[in-house]
C-alpha cells in the first residue's frame, strides 16, 4: 500500500532524444490507402510497429556506446596543422603516444600499407619485395619475408591469418607466418587490390586493364572483365555497397560490380588522369584527385559534384577515415582535412612531413592513427578524431582472442553475401522486380543458355527410295507447319466459342433473374 500511494515521478519508459531515434530510422511509415483488406491492415500495422520498436530499442541501446570522439583543438591563433606529431605524442597518454612511431625501412621502399579489419594488424609491402606483417600496437612482428620480386600491392583477406600480395607477375596468398599458400596464375600483372569483407571477394585491377574478382572462400574466380581503359592503378571500394571504383588516365572514374560486363557508371571527374579515389564509410561521398591538381568531392549517390579544391601540389594518395577525415598525400607531405564535403575548407586540419614520397596511405580502423607508407619506410601518425571510437564486437573486435576469431570466421562465412547481390543500391533486393514476363524470360534464357519454353524444331526424317528429295522434304516441313497452324487456329476458335458461350449463358442467367418476359418469349423453345 505504501508503494501504491507513492506515485512514480517519472511514469512510463524513459524518453529517447529525437535525433538519436532518427539515427536508427529504418523506413518511412507506409501510406495507408482507404480501402484495405483486414489482413493487409494487420500486416502493415505489425510491420510498422516492429520497425518502430526496433528503432526505439536501438536508440535506447545507443547509450551503451559510451566512447566519444574528439578533435585536436589548438590555442587561439594557432593552426592545428602546425602542431607536430611529437608534440601530440608527448601530450597524450603513454599508450596513445606509443602509436606514433616511424619504421625506417629505406632499403626496399616505398611501401604500400594495409590494416586488417579490426585495426590490430598492419601489413607492409615494399616495392622491392619486402613484405611484413606486424601487430603494430604491441610492435610484434608476425612475419617478414622478401618475395624477391617487385610488389605492387598488399591486402589482408578476411582475417589476419591470410593476406594477398600482388607481385610482379602473379597474385600470391600468404599466411601470417609468411608461408605461401597460393599462387594464382589467373590473376596476372595485378596493380591494385581491394577486399570486400562481407562477400569474401578479392577484387584486383591489373596492368592489362582487367578487373577480376576472386572468391576467397571457395577460391574461384567470380568475374573477370576487360575494362578496355588501359593500365588500372587507381582503385577503391565503396564500403556501403561493395562497388569497385576505378580511376583512369582519361579523367574518368568507373564503377563496377561483378554482375555487369560494362561499367555501371562512368563519371568524368578530372581534366587529366585520376590519381587517387576514395569513398567514405557511409557510401555517400567520393573524393578524387587528379593530375589537374584538383581534389573533388562527389555525392556518389546522385553522381553530382559537391566541392572542388585546388591543391598546388596535387594529391597522389587519398584515404578517408571512419569518421570522415580525409588524408591526402602531396609529395612527401601528408595532409589531413576535416569536413571536406560539408563546409568549404581552406586549410588542413593536420599536416606531417615524411621522408620520401608517399606511396601508401591508410587510416587504421577504430584508432586515431594514420599509417603512411613512404619511400623511407612507414610512419604511424596520430590523427585525433579519425577512428570510430565504438566498435561492434560481433563484427570487428580488436581485442578478440584466437578462439573468438575462429568463431567469427565461421559466422562470417555463414553470413557471406553472394556476389550477385552487389548492386549500386544495396536495398534493391527489397524491391519487387517489375520487369515484364518477356524480360524475365530473356534473362532466364541468357542464364540457362537455351530457351526452356521453345518448341523443338521439326527435323524431317530421312527416307529412302528418293522420298527425301529436297522437294519432298520441303513439302513435309510445310505439312507440319500447316498442321501446327491449324492447331493454333482451332485452339483460338475454340476459345472464342467458349467465350461466346459463357457470355450467352451469363446473359440468359441475367434474363432469368430479372424475370422480365417479353412478347417474343412465347416463340422460344
Amino acid at each position: 500500500s505504501m508503494a501504491a500511494s507513492k506515485s512514480d515521478p517519472f511514469p512510463g519508459p524513459a524518453p529517447i532524444p529525437k535525433e538519436r531515434v532518427q539515427k536508427f530510422k529504418r523506413k518511412d511509415k507506409a501510406k495507408k490507402p482507404r480501402h484495405q483488406h483486414f489482413k493487409l491492415r494487420d500486416m502493415m500495422k505489425r510491420s510498422d510497429e516492429a520497425s518502430e520498436m526496433s528503432q526505439k530499442q536501438a536508440a535506447r541501446f545507443d547509450l551503451l556506446l559510451p566512447e566519444d570522439a574528439g578533435f585536436l583543438e589548438g590555442d587561439e591563433d594557432e593552426d592545428t596543422c602546425t602542431i607536430s606529431q611529437e608534440d601530440i605524442a608527448e601530450a597524450v597518454d603513454i599508450t596513445s603516444g606509443a602509436k606514433y612511431f616511424n619504421l625506417k625501412l629505406s632499403q626496399f621502399g616505398p611501401y604500400r600499407v594495409d590494416y586488417s579489419k579490426t585495426g590490430r594488424h598492419l601489413l607492409l609491402g615494399g616495392r622491392r619485395g619486402h613484405v611484413a606483417c606486424i601487430d603494430w600496437q604491441s610492435k610484434h612482428l608476425m612475419c617478414e619475408i622478401n618475395v624477391m620480386e617487385s610488389v605492387n600491392d598488399v591486402k589482408w583477406l578476411h582475417s589476419e591469418a591470410m593476406y594477398a600480395v600482388a607481385q610482379k607477375k602473379w597474385l600470391y596468398i600468404y599466411d601470417s607466418n609468411g608461408i605461401e599458400l597460393h599462387c594464382i596464375r589467373k590473376f596476372n600483372d595485378v596493380l591494385r587490390m581491394q577486399f570486400l569483407p562481407y562477400h569474401f571477394l578479392l577484387a584486383t585491377a591489373s596492368a592489362t586493364s582487367f578487373l577480376q574478382y576472386l572468391d576467397v572462400s571457395v577460391g574461384k574466380e567470380v568475374a573477370a572483365f576487360c575494362t578496355k581503359t588501359g593500365r588500372l592503378d587507381v582503385m577503391c571500394q565503396n564500403p556501403h555497397n561493395a562497388i569497385i571504383h576505378l580511376g583512369h588516365p582519361n579523367g574518368t572514374v568507373t564503377l563496377w560490380s561483378p554482375n555487369q560486363k560494362e561499367a555501371l557508371v562512368k563519371m568524368l571527374c578530372h581534366q587529366g588522369g585520376v590519381r587517387s579515389v576514395t569513398v567514405d564509410k557511409t557510401g555517400m561521398y567520393m573524393v578524387t584527385s587528379g593530375l589537374d591538381k584538383k581534389l573533388k568531392v562527389y555525392d556518389i549517390r546522385a553522381f553530382k559534384p559537391l566541392k572542388s579544391y585546388f591543391l598546388p601540389a596535387g594529391a597522389s594518395c587519398l584515404s578517408l577515415s571512419q569518421r570522415g577525415l580525409l588524408s591526402a598525400a602531396t609529395g612527401d607531405v601528408v595532409q589531413v582535412y576535416r569536413d571536406v564535403w560539408s563546409a568549404p575548407v581552406t586549410k588542413p586540419y593536420m599536416a606531417h612531413r615524411v621522408r620520401g614520397s608517399v606511396w601508401g596511405l591508410h587510416f587504421c580502423p577504430f584508432e586515431d592513427v594514420l599509417g603512411v607508407g613512404h619511400g623511407d619506410g612507414f610512419t604511424s601518425m596520430l590523427v585525433p578524431g579519425a577512428g570510430e571510437p565504438n566498435f561492434d564486437g560481433l563484427d570487428a573486435n580488436p581485442y578478440r582472442s584466437a578462439k573468438q576469431r575462429q568463431e567469427w570466421e565461421v559466422k562470417a562465412l555463414l553470413e557471406k553475401i553472394q556476389p550477385e547481390l552487389i548492386s549500386l543500391d544495396p536495398t534493391e533486393l527489397g524491391y519487387v522486380d517489375r520487369a515484364t514476363f518477356e524480360q524475365r524470360h530473356r534473362d532466364r534464357v541468357q542464364a540457362l543458355g537455351y530457351d526452356p519454353l521453345a518448341k523443338e524444331k521439326f527435323v524431317p526424317k530421312y527416307k529412302k527410295k528418293g522420298r527425301s528429295s529436297a522437294g519432298a522434304v520441303e513439302r513435309r516441313k510445310k505439312q507440319v507447319a500447316h498442321e501446327d497452324q491449324r492447331d493454333e487456329i482451332r485452339k483460338t476458335v475454340e476459345d472464342k466459342m467458349k467465350m461466346e458461350k459463357e457470355i450467352k449463358e451469363r446473359a440468359q442467367k441475367k434474363a432469368a433473374l430479372s424475370n422480365q418476359k417479353s412478347a417474343l418469349d412465347r416463340f422460344k423453345k
Partner: protein
C-alpha cells in the same frame, strides 16, 4: 327445376372441395370454417321453407351466369339429358355422376329421423367434424426437407466457430495446448498451497498455526473470519426462513392428502387417478426435457431402474397365482389365453431397452426441443390409401403400434409417451372417448400449422435468395455500366493525347536536331576554350534546355522561340546558383611545401608521365567522353524502320520510287525508350542495362494481401537480424506463429473454449494484443 338447381349447388360444393385440395394448405382452416358455415346454412335451409331456398338458388344461378359473362367461359359439366324417373325421397340422386352422396346430406336426414340411435348420430357428427388429412409427402421430398433442416442446423452450429477461427487466423501468435498454465507470477495462495513444510522447524510452526486456527494458506483471513464473511444478512435469513416454513407446511399438507387417498378402497378411483398422474407426469416430463434436461435425465434413469426391476421381477411373466390359473384355463378359454399373451407383451414392452443412448443426452434434448428438425407430418405414413373416401379420411383412431412406430422415429420423448399410453390402454381398455377425439383433432391442427410454418419459411428463404440474386445481377449491370463509362472516358483522353502528340511530333524532331547541333557547337567551343568547368555548366544547361524544349512542346502547341529563350535563361540562373556553390574551386593552403627528391627514379618516371599528361590534359578527354555518351544514348533510341517494298502494289523499276503515302504507311516508328537516368547529368554515363542476376533473388509478383509495390516493400524494408537489432527486439520480431509445448497433447478445441473466448473477447476487444491467452 329443383333438381337442376340442386345439381348446380352440388357442383358448386364440388368445386369448392376441389379448390380445397388444389389450394395450398394455408387456406385449410378457413375452408373448414366455410364447411361449417355451409352446414349451418343447410340446417337453416331445412328449417325454413323450401321457397326461400329456391330463391337463394335462383339468385346464385343468376350471379354465376353474370360472372360467367364477364370472365372466362367455363366448361359446363356434362349433364344427362334424360329425365330421371326415380327420385330419391331423401333428395339424393345417385344417378348423376356429379351428384355424390355427401355426408352432410346424410346428416340432414338423420337429424330428421328419430329412429336412428343417438350414438350413431354422435358418431356421424364426429365424423363430420374431423377433416381430411393432407397427402403425405413423397419419400424424396421428405428426405430433402430433412436434409435441408439438418444442413441448416449444422451450418448454424459450425458458424458459431467463425469468429474464433478468424480471430486465430489474425492472431500474431498462437500457443498450444490451449489450457496452459499461465506463465509468470502465480497468486500467493496457489504458491503457498503447493508448498509443504519439510524441516522440523517448519513443521512445528505449522502445527502451532493450525492448532491456533491461524491462516496458513490464505495469509489474510482466519477460518472464523471467513465464516463471518460467508454469513448471511438478516433480510436474507428472514426470507430463507419464510421459504422453509412454507415448504414444510406444503409438505405436511401433501402428506396428509396422500394418506387420505391411500385409504380409499375404490379400485376405479385409483385407476383413474393413476391415469391422471401418468398423464401429468408425461406432460411434466415433456416440459422438463425442454427446460431442465438434467432432471429429465434423472427421470429417465428412474425409468431405467424400473425397467431393471421389471426384468428382475416375475411380475408379468405369467408366474403368479392368477397367471397359473389362467394357464390352466387357457386350453379352453380364448379370453384367458389372450390375457396371458397380453401380460407377456406387457413384460416385453417394459423390459425393452430404450433405443436412444443416454450419453447422447444433449442431442436428444435438442432434438426434442427442436420441432423443426423432424416435422411430424413428414413421418405420417400413407395409411389412408383411398383419400377420396370421406369415411377413410377421418382419422378416428390409429393403431397404437403404428403410433409407436411414428414416435420411435421422432425421438425419445414421444416414444416414452407412446409407451405410457400403451400402458394406460392396456389397463383401461376403453374405447376412444370424445375428448380423445378432440385431442387428436388439436394434434392434427398443430401439425398442420407446423407444416404451414415450415412451408412459408422455405418460401421466404427462396424469395430472399431470389431477391439477392436479382440484386447482385442489378449491381453487376451497374458496375459494367460504370466501367464502360470509365473506358469511354479513358479512350477519349487517349485519343486527345495521341492527337496532341502527333501534332507536336514534327516540331519535337526539329527541336531535337536543334539541340544536337547546339551540343556539337558547344563541344567545339569548349575545345577551343579548354575549360571543363564551363563545359559542365553549359552542357547541363543545354541539356536542361533540351528537356525543357521538349516539355512545353508536348504541352503547348506553339512554342515560341522567345519563350524558349526566356525559359532557358531562367534555368540557367537557377543552375548558376547551384554551380557557384559547388563548382567554385578553393585553393587550399599547403603549409608544408612538398619537396620531391629527384633521387628516386621511379618517382621521376611517374612524374614525367604525369607532366606529359598534364601538358596535354583536357584536350580530347572531354570530347571523347561526350562521344561515348552520345553513342550510349543512340543505342537506346528508337530507329525508324522503312518497310516499303518497291514494286509491291504499284509499278516498279528504274527511276520509279514508291509513292509518298506508301512510304509513310510502311514507316515503322518504335516507341521512344524511357528517359535515361543520366539525362540531367552531363558528365556521367549510367548504364541502362538490367541486372538480371539480382532479379533472380527478387520478388517478381506482388504477394497476396498487398495492393501496391510500396506497401510490400515497406513491410520488408526494416531488417530483422541480430546485426541491426537488439536481442530482445529480434526475439519479438521473429517469434513463431504457432508455439507448441513439447510432449503435450494438443486437444481439439472444446465447446467450453468457445464460450471462454467469447467472454474474453468481450473483455478485451483488442484483437492485436501480442498474446492471445485462453
Amino acid at each position: 327445376m329443383a333438381k337442376v338447381s340442386k345439381a348446380k349447388m352440388s357442383k358448386k360444393v364440388f368445386k369448392k372441395s376441389s379448390e380445397v385440395t388444389v389450394n395450398s394448405t394455408a387456406l385449410k382452416p378457413e375452408v373448414v370454417y366455410d364447411d361449417d358455415d355451409d352446414l349451418k346454412g343447410a340446417d337453416e335451409e331445412i328449417i325454413s321453407e323450401e321457397e326461400d331456398g329456391e330463391d337463394e338458388r335462383k339468385r346464385q344461378h343468376l350471379l354465376e351466369a353474370i360472372s360467367a359473362l364477364g370472365g372466362k367461359r367455363r366448361k359446363a359439366l356434362g349433364e344427362r339429358s334424360e329425365a330421371a324417373v326415380q327420385m330419391s325421397e331423401f333428395m339424393v340422386n345417385a344417378e348423376d355422376e356429379s351428384e355424390r352422396v355427401e355426408l352432410s346430406d346424410l346428416i340432414q336426414i338423420i337429424e330428421k329421423t328419430s329412429t336412428v340411435p343417438a350414438k350413431t348420430k354422435k358418431q356421424l357428427k364426429n365424423l363430420q367434424r374431423s377433416k381430411t388429412i393432407e397427402c403425405p409427402l413423397s419419400k424424396q421430398e421428405s428426405e430433402r426437407i430433412q436434409r435441408d433442416v439438418a444442413f441448416q442446423k449444422a451450418a448454424t452450429d459450425i458458424s458459431r466457430w467463425k469468429s474464433i477461427i478468424s480471430q486465430n487466423q489474425r492472431a500474431e501468435q498462437l500457443m498450444f495446448p490451449l489450457n496452459q498454465e499461465p506463465s509468470g507470477p502465480k497468486p500467493m495462495e496457489r504458491v503457498v498451497t503447493g508448498w509443504k513444510a519439510q524441516t522440523p522447524l517448519e513443521q512445528e510452526i505449522f502445527a502451532l498455526l493450525s492448532a491456533n486456527k491461524q491462516p496458513i494458506n490464505d495469509p489474510i483471513l482466519t477460518p472464523i473470519e471467513q465464516a463471518s464473511m460467508r454469513a448471511m444478512s438478516l433480510e436474507e435469513a428472514k426470507v430463507r426462513r419464510a421459504e422453509l416454513q412454507k415448504a414444510r407446511a406444503l409438505q405436511s399438507y401433501y402428506e396428509a392428502q396422500a394418506r387420505r387417498e391411500k385409504k380409499i378402497k375404490s379400485k376405479k378411483f385409483h385407476k383413474v387417478q393413476n391415469k391422471a398422474k401418468r398423464k401429468e407426469f408425461l406432460k411434466q416430463f415433456d416440459e422438463m426435457v425442454k427446460t431442465d434436461p438434467a432432471a429429465a435425465l434423472e427421470e429417465l434413469n428412474k425409468m431405467e431402474v424400473a425397467r431393471m426391476q421389471e426384468r428382475m421381477s416375475l411380475k408379468h411373466q405369467n408366474s403368479g397365482k392368477w397367471a397359473k390359473s389362467r394357464a390352466i384355463m387357457a386350453k379352453y378359454n380364448e379370453g384367458a389365453r389372450k390375457a396371458m399373451q397380453q401380460q407377456l407383451e406387457v413384460n416385453k414392452h417394459l423390459t425393452q431397452k430404450l433405443v436412444t443412448s443416454l450419453n447422447g443426452d444433449d442431442e436428444e434434448e435438442e432434438e426434442a426441443g427442436d420441432p423443426e428438425l423432424l416435422p411430424d407430418f413428414v413421418n405420417d405414413a400413407e395409411q389412408d390409401l383411398d383419400s377420396s373416401n370421406p369415411w377413410m379420411r377421418g382419422r378416428l383412431s390409429e393403431d397404437p403400434t403404428e403410433e409407436e412406430a411414428n414416435s420411435d422415429t421422432v425421438g425419445l420423448t414421444t416414444e416414452q409417451s407412446g409407451g405410457m399410453e400403451y400402458i394406460a390402454e392396456e389397463e383401461e381398455k376403453v374405447e376412444e372417448t370424445e375428448d380423445n377425439v378432440i385431442l387428436r383433432e388439436f394434434d392434427s391442427r398443430r401439425k398442420l400449422r407446423q407444416a404451414l410454418e415450415t412451408d412459408t419459411a422455405v418460401e421466404m428463404s427462396v424469395d430472399e435468395e431470389e431477391e439477392e440474386e436479382s440484386k447482385a445481377a442489378a449491381e453487376d449491370g451497374y458496375a459494367s455500366d460504370k466501367e464502360e463509362e470509365r473506358l469511354c472516358e479513358f479512350t477519349n483522353l487517349f485519343h486527345e493525347i495521341v492527337e496532341g502528340q502527333s501534332r507536336v511530333e514534327g516540331a519535337g524532331d526539329a527541336g531535337r536536331t536543334d539541340t544536337s547541333t547546339q551540343l556539337e557547337a558547344e563541344v567545339i567551343r569548349i575545345r577551343t576554350l579548354g575549360s571543363v568547368e564551363l563545359l559542365t555548366q553549359d552542357n547541363s544547361a543545354t541539356d536542361k534546355v533540351h528537356v525543357e524544349s521538349q516539355k512545353p512542346l508536348s504541352t503547348e502547341n506553339l512554342p515560341s522561340t522567345t519563350q524558349k529563350a526566356g525559359k532557358s535563361r531562367k534555368r540557367k540562373k537557377k543552375i548558376q546558383l547551384k554551380e557557384v556553390l559547388t563548382k567554385e574551386t578553393k585553393v587550399m593552403k599547403v603549409l608544408l611545401a612538398p619537396t620531391i627528391e629527384a633521387s628516386e627514379e621511379l618517382e621521376e618516371k611517374l612524374d614525367q608521365r604525369g607532366l606529359i599528361k598534364e601538358a596535354f590534359a583536357g584536350d580530347d578527354v572531354i570530347s571523347e567522353f561526350l562521344k561515348d555518351k552520345r553513342k550510349q544514348e543512340d543505342v537506346g533510341t528508337s530507329k525508324i524502320l522503312d518497310l516499303t517494298l518497291p514494286g509491291w502494289g504499284e509499278w516498279g523499276g528504274t527511276g520509279l520510287k514508291p509513292s509518298r503515302s506508301k512510304r509513310r504507311r510502311f514507316r515503322v516508328k518504335n516507341a521512344p525508350p524511357p528517359p535515361r537516368k543520366d539525362q540531367h547529368l552531363p558528365s556521367v554515363i549510367i548504364s541502362e542495362k538490367r541486372n538480371s542476376f539480382i532479379s533472380l533473388h527478387q520478388v517478381n509478383s506482388l504477394p497476396f494481401p498487398f495492393e501496391n509495390h510500396t506497401q510490400f516493400e515497406s513491410t520488408i524494408r526494416s531488417p530483422l537480424g541480430r546485426t541491426w537489432n537488439t536481442e530482445r527486439t529480434v526475439k519479438k520480431i521473429t517469434k513463431p506463429k504457432v508455439v507448441t509445448q513439447l510432449g503435450t497433447i494438443i486437444e481439439p478445441m472444446a465447446q467450453e473454449e468457445l464460450v471462454k473466448v467469447k467472454v474474453s473477447a468481450g473483455k478485451n476487444s483488442c484483437v492485436d494484443s501480442l498474446k492471445i491467452k485462453y
